[in-house]
């Protein structure tokens, strides 16, 4: 059976070119880039080149790139490293719709006595910038707000937010793992201090991420024990992962147009066909400002995990914000923050595409969706009972 992979916000396929670039660094060029000998030193040159490739995609200086083991490590480093650097400030501002890599850290900080503000969002998942502005004060150590939401694809105006926050002398961090490679970014033109990205979300391997640290930003290291990354992140470099990430960033720049034209057209086709063929379905998120590859659709009266299993039988991979898929008992915190009613939150499905998807795959899914939804609604006691 063929696999139709529409779960690219979870992880992506490693690009062939990336895999090829990584291969020599396992069995042949396995030296430690910190070594004095040529054998290790030549590997160091490749790490440097990867740093330049990442910097080129982000529009920053290579010295501003710190390689980490993942996006989560980059997020933790950004938040905890900033707080350690400005110990007299005790307030942290974030949003209710952040990825757990940020939200869980902030809630833990709250338990440790920090004053944490979680900004709410409206029904389409948008922030109220006025509310953000009213919260900024001299006690605020860091504002951490994601660039785009992983579940709905809603994009936040981070350039505007960065200006608002940094003007007040406050550090601004953005978790940009979903946006890098999908929306062009130029860090030389915005005052963002800290930015996290994750390799495996843009066709590099799992186990490598980046924290961008703008020159002059005060941040304490998170991992201690070595001089790597200019003393800002100890630990022997994940050389194959880093080399692959460099290549992936080069490819991302090349395919940026494709993501915003062809991939976006596929997403739009999938979305509008499903909305047309499945009654009582609706989009979650801000249709105006949204990642070009993501659509999150709620199907009333039925439950997401059941939909996913039906899709799975056709080889179609997607994900859901329903409670049952996560093993928790409550549906997605993002959809709940948006005020999506429970009736719709439990039946939400996210399709996230990539440049590897084809029109045939989209057509096949469009053909299968109505029968899946209809089948589950036949089983549901709520169909025709509940008014929404």
């Amino acid at each position: 059976m063929q696999t139709i992979y529409f779960d690219n916000n979870a992880t992506t396929r490693v690009a062939d070119e990336v895999f090829e670039a990584m291969q020599p660094y396992f069995c042949d060029l396995y030296g430690n880039p910190s070594s004095m000998h040529t054998f290790g030193g030549q590997v160091g040159i490749q790490v440097r080149q990867a740093r330049e490739q990442v910097a080129a995609l982000l529009g920053c200086h290579p010295s501003e790139i710190i390689f980490t083991s993942c996006g989560t490590e980059a997020d933790s480093t950004a938040i905890l490293g900033t707080l350690a650097a400005v110990p007299h400030r005790r307030k942290v501002i974030t949003t209710r719709v952040e990825h757990p890599a940020v939200l869980t850290v902030c809630r833990d900080l709250e338990n440790r006595g920090y004053h944490v503000i979680e900004l709410g969002v409206d029904k389409q998942g948008r922030l109220d910038l006025g509310e953000l502005e009213s919260q900024l004060d001299d006690d605020t150590a860091i504002v951490t707000i994601m660039a785009a939401n992983n579940e709905t694809g809603t994009i936040f105006p981070i350039e505007k937010i960065a200006e608002m926050v940094t003007e007040r002398g406050i550090t601004f961090h953005t978790d940009a793992v979903q946006i890098v490679g999908k929306i062009p970014l130029n860090l030389s033109e915005t005052p963002i201090h800290l930015l996290s990205l994750s390799g495996h979300k843009l066709h590099a391997a799992k186990g490598v991420g980046v924290l961008y640290v703008r020159k002059g930003t005060r941040i304490a290291p998170f991992l201690l024990g070595g001089h790597q990354e200019g003393g800002r992140r100890a630990g022997t470099e994940n050389v194959p992962g880093i080399v692959g990430l460099g290549k992936a960033c080069e490819l991302a720049a090349r395919y940026m147009d494709d993501e915003n034209t062809r991939v976006k057209a596929l997403r739009d086709k999938l979305e509008s066909a499903i909305l047309a063929s499945c009654p009582d379905s609706r989009i979650n998120g801000d249709p105006e400002n949204r990642l070009p590859n993501t659509t999150n659709i709620s199907f009333e009266y039925i439950e997401g995990e059941a939909i996913l299993l039906m899709l799975d039988r056709f080889g179609i991979c997607a994900s859901s914000g329903s409670a049952c898929t996560s093993g928790s008992l409550e549906p997605s915190h993002v959809l709940r923050a948006m005020g999506v009613p429970f009736t719709a939150a439990h039946g939400s499905i996210r399709y996230s595409l990539s440049r590897y998807n084809t029109e045939d795959e989209v057509d096949f899914t469009i053909e299968k969706m109505p029968q899946i939804i209809e089948r589950l609604r036949e089983l549901s006691p709520f169909v025709g009972q509940v008014s929404v």
Binding site: E110, E303, E305, A306, C324, L379, S380, F382
Partner: protein, 293 residues
Amino acid sequence: MWEYTDKVREHFFNPRNVGEIENADGVGEVGSLACGDALKLTFKLDKDGRIADAKFKTFGCASAIATSSVLTELIKGKTLDEAMNVTNKDIADYLGGLPEQKMHCSVMGREALEAAIANYQGGEVKKHELEGHVVCTCFGVTDVEIERVVRENDLTTVEQVTNYCKAGGGCGGCHGEIEKIIERIQGEKASRRVPPVPQKGRKLTNIQKMQLIQQTINEQIRPALRAHGGNIELIDIEGDKVTVAFRGMCAQCHLAEFTMKDVVETKLREFVSEDIIVEEDKDSVEEGHVHKG
């Protein structure tokens, strides 16, 4: 990805007895859209008082649908007394087991059956009746229901209870009470969660007292407030006087003076010291700050 048995998958993809019996002898409804799963069971008796036909409609995940399907298969041909003996374990066993976190689906099946039989016997009652007092307010689970899943499935931890009947799966404010129920039934076998509930009663240094107050707020008070859109911040501790500020929904609540302060004081007295006095710091409440749902 859940590891479902072939039998679960089979009953999910090809559920038996889907639908609603018209003029049914018994109708049972449990769960709700908000809870994430719901089941409506209808049955008809033959002239010998045996269940001649049973049908279901279920909103929920694959295991909820599969357990409903099995339930209807299991009760067909049984008398009502025989059907009453079907336990959630029978349903799960028939399916070759369910993932731990999905056991509540099998319990929902058993509850729907009880509700349908009660409906037949008592006439009006179609909804699952709440017996006992509600322990878990997030999911509306009573002590009677918790006791039953603990007994029937030999449960020893709060986590298991959550898996079997959802109790304790929301704000977590009822974990202490669930623990007490488990201890009452299981005695020695009950395993306490880690870390244990803060213990009072010993002589505390100032630093220990401050830490215990912070810990009590973190573990016993904040989760419950958070579940209702509120929050609490510890502002200061001077001797036995604890100053806190309420945030979010709690800050706007007009009853704050009578409810929140008392709740916090009661908890701190329970876990830290009888002498604790709680005061609310109104000055630190941010103005014009409105949390959105």
